[in-house]
Symmetry: C2
Subunit: 199 residues, 2 copies
């Protein structure tokens, strides 16, 4: 016997397909949508379609944008000879928040991960090499996450870039600002020691 009206079940199934949303949560979200006004539900549905229609990747840096070229790549006042390579669009936001970086970005849309069957051809490495080959690039800062896959991806790309004779750097590892030494793990601490700088 089917306990739910078909349309409600279908909506719950759609939610359940989203990452990190289990069956129970999907049901709860579907019920919640029924509680919205028709206008609110329409707005939600429209937001999905509008986002799909207008948002695409910037042909230069591969970040998400709704313009022909993203605002950062289109900004004349930024240093286009300095490229910061990140895994995801949200990492661009994190970097921009620091207000320290005046260069441009390259978004890989993932990291190499054999366990998840993501190979070097599945992320936007080719596009990065193409940018570098066009010339005018002075330095590339690898800013993938400081974990195994992020490190391996950074290492792989830096090897590909070696013949092009461009400076390739990596974000510094160390103890986070405002943290307490006693809670830092030993790997972070040993990396912080290795990278110690004169005062």
């Amino acid at each position: 016997m089917q306990y739910f009206p078909a349309a409600l079940q279908e909506l719950a199934d759609q939610f359940a397909r989203l990452p990190g949303i289990g069956g129970k949560t999907a049901q709860r979200l579907a019920f919640h949508m029924l509680g919205l006004s028709m206008d609110e539900a329409q707005e939600f549905a429209d937001a999905i379609i509008t986002a799909k229609r207008t948002v695409h990747t910037c042909p230069v840096c591969q970040n998400l944008t709704d313009r022909e070229i993203c605002p950062i790549c289109a900004d004349e006042y930024r240093d286009h000879s300095l490229i910061c390579v990140v895994a995801e669009p949200k990492d661009v936001i994190a970097m921009e928040r620091s207000r320290e970086f005046g260069g441009v970005y390259h978004v890989l849309h993932g990291v190499i991960s054999p366990l998840n069957r993501v190979t070097q051809d599945d992320i936007r490495i080719r596009e990065l090499l193409g940018r570098v080959a066009q010339g005018g690039v002075r330095e590339i800062i690898m800013a993938t996450n400081p974990d195994t896959e992020g490190d391996a991806t950074a290492m792989y790309i830096s090897r590909l870039l070696r013949p092009m004779e461009i400076k390739v750097t990596r974000l510094a590892y160390g103890v986070p600002v405002g943290s307490q030494l006693e809670y830092a793990d030993e790997v972070t601490l040993s990396r912080a020691l290795e990278g110690r700088q004169e005062m």
Copy 2:
């Protein structure tokens, strides 16, 4: 500076309005939607609108349905003189799964909860009294959740029903089947003792 394309931000905002979805999760879901094909995104948007258009409450039991009268209320073989009162549509599904109940339901769509500003007039008590007043009801089983608000709501309704001289019962409290006594809390255990039955 706006880091996200406007349409992506709008979609993330829509997700963030859903219950239990925080800002970070909303962003992740919005990114995920961009990764879907246009057809898949359209299906999701359509599911929202179709659910809103076709699903309404059954005029008899207030459960959600896409038919004029819900399948349970329309079923001649069920005992329409026995009404099980539950708080939410999902509780109907839980009861039906037990395959033990042959009567019909009444869905309150909430419980009385002064803390959340839900009064007796905000849930479908009036509709239940209307059903009972039409006659033909033999027994009402209160099956709201065994917590403070569920109990208080059951108690309130049973008082309203007292002048109508109908049998009102409550689901038994006790230790859950398959559980271990040592992990049962003392309130459950004392209720299980009170409700002990001859073997």
